[in-house]
Symmetry: C2
Subunit: 301 residues, 2 copies
């Protein structure tokens, strides 16, 4: 099974490495990291063990891709300014599957519309990893992947990908309804991410040590539950409280992906994490004033 | 009439100068600005005309005050960490009046409790002025003062102070209920101040050019109106819309006092402007989620 990983950052670099460890045929589309990775491969500093690997081939530009892939795994950030739909087109034929390992809510729709004939899998990564430099990824915590069919369902093919990840000891789960999982992940993302940036570059411990911010985290989470409810998904209060307690119980406080991006001067996933949710609320006349406030502020940054 | 101005910043320095221009007997308590002002006086760069003045006496420490004053005008920022109540005690006898030219809501109570026998006047300044350096004040816009009796009412004495300001062409108004005026001023302060800091150091134009932030400004203003309503004060929608339109129509965009303080690394008036309002809401079980979000974020900064 020929696999192309689009993006060689904290997610793409890490999971490309896991697939390579499983012996898979892995190519990467690296863009900014091309020269470094072409030369030195990718270094992973992981709680699962450090390693270095070379993809079968490193592409620096989508235009150079002259082969078709069985699986194209997109790991880029979801940003309005990254038109990765154009990036993956050369790698696809009608038999190609697409997997999105990305953050946010309602992120699959645009892909499904552009590639209506392709098998599309929506994947959520639960991982704390960071791109320290070109071709250098640090993996601090978790690593779990949750898979769900989104379009032209083909669970047998998805299972082949899961088997490869599982061979590298990556914990993998399949669910019938990935949207529910996306809402549940949004509970954490829509709260800790913007608050960590707006309250002055705070890690999870500093947020939860402040009673005003802890209360704000909970209020945002309750608003996410309200939105999920409008789609028929029940996120109970216990889930929210456990989410906060688990974050509080982490031995090492973590910095959110938005904070990492903000401090590195990179674009943040504001639309995928907050903008899409705020627009969903407006469309459905739901009141989410805390999220709306966070969105307005972080959109302006 | 012997007057002591406590504070020689954007407000204290400016209004001390106006009283001096009116020929009043003005002493100042300068603290950090003491050496500079003692030597060079205070320089005002004002749209009303530049001038330099020397107070009759400059105090650098409240302990050095061995005289009593007819009016002690407090212009310090309202910060939990500034115990200016101790500062003014040496300047007061039972005949002394106290005037607070300060921002925020519910700020008079602590003073009234410590000096229950003194005449207490609550004053609101509508002014854009900035302390550029020690003893150097820039005055960009407005300058109006609104006076209201707060404790041991003595309008005749207050009028004497107003007459002095009026002599220097400072527009002055007296109102029966200063709390209503404080709520009305809070409409602007509770919205533009924290948003200007949290959205990434934005002036009024940049805030209002962003439709998300403009909407947030309005939502915060509506929440202030909700709080005022609970005290029996009606702030109509037209007032809020005019407030936004007038700010939008300013020829020169302005930077809020919180933003000026934040950029200078100084403490911001978070409690007087937001904290007191949030606590009032909690006590009265009123929902002000936008303000609550802003408060939690800016409190953490």
């Amino acid at each position: 099974m020929k696999i192309l990983i689009v993006g060689t950052g904290a997610i793409g670099g890490f999971y490309a490495g896991q697939l390579r460890r499983a012996g898979a045929d892995v190519a990467v589309l690296a863009r900014g990291d091309y020269e470094k990775i072409k030369h030195d491969g990718i270094n992973i500093e992981s709680i699962w063990g450090d390693f270095n690997f070379h993809p079968r081939v490193v592409y620096g530009d989508a235009k150079d891709i002259k082969e078709k892939f069985d699986f194209v795994i997109v790991t880029t950030k979801v940003l309005p300014e990254i038109s990765w739909l154009d990036l993956i087109a050369p790698a696809l034929d009608s038999h190609s599957s697409i997997a999105l390992i990305q953050n946010g809510i309602f992120i699959e729709k645009a892909v499904a519309e552009v590639f209506p004939q392709n098998h599309l899998v929506s994947v959520i990564a639960f991982i704390a990893s960071e791109r320290l430099a070109s071709g250098l990824i640090k993996h601090d915590n978790d690593g779990k992947l949750t898979f769900g069919e989104y379009q032209n369902s083909n669970p047998q093919k998805t299972q082949k990908l899961i088997d490869l990840f599982a061979k590298a000891q990556v914990p993998c789960f399949s669910v019938n309804d990935i949207q529910f999982e996306r809402w549940k992940k949004l509970v954490w993302n829509a709260s800790f991410n913007p608050i960590s940036v707006l309250a002055g570059a705070l890690d999870t411990k500093k947020i939860l040590d402040n009673p005003h911010l802890k209360n704000l985290v909970k209020n945002v989470m309750l608003e996410v539950a309200l939105l999920a409810k409008a789609q028929g998904y029940d996120i109970p209060l216990e889930f929210i409280e456990k989410n906060i307690n688990d974050t509080e119980a982490r031995k090492v406080p973590s910095r959110s992906s938005m904070l990492i991006d903000f401090e590195a001067g990179r674009a943040m996933e504001v639309e995928a994490i907050l903008g899409n949710a705020v627009r969903f609320a407006q469309k459905n006349k739901l009141q989410i004033p805390h999220m709306e406030t966070l969105y307005a502020l972080i959109f302006a940054m």
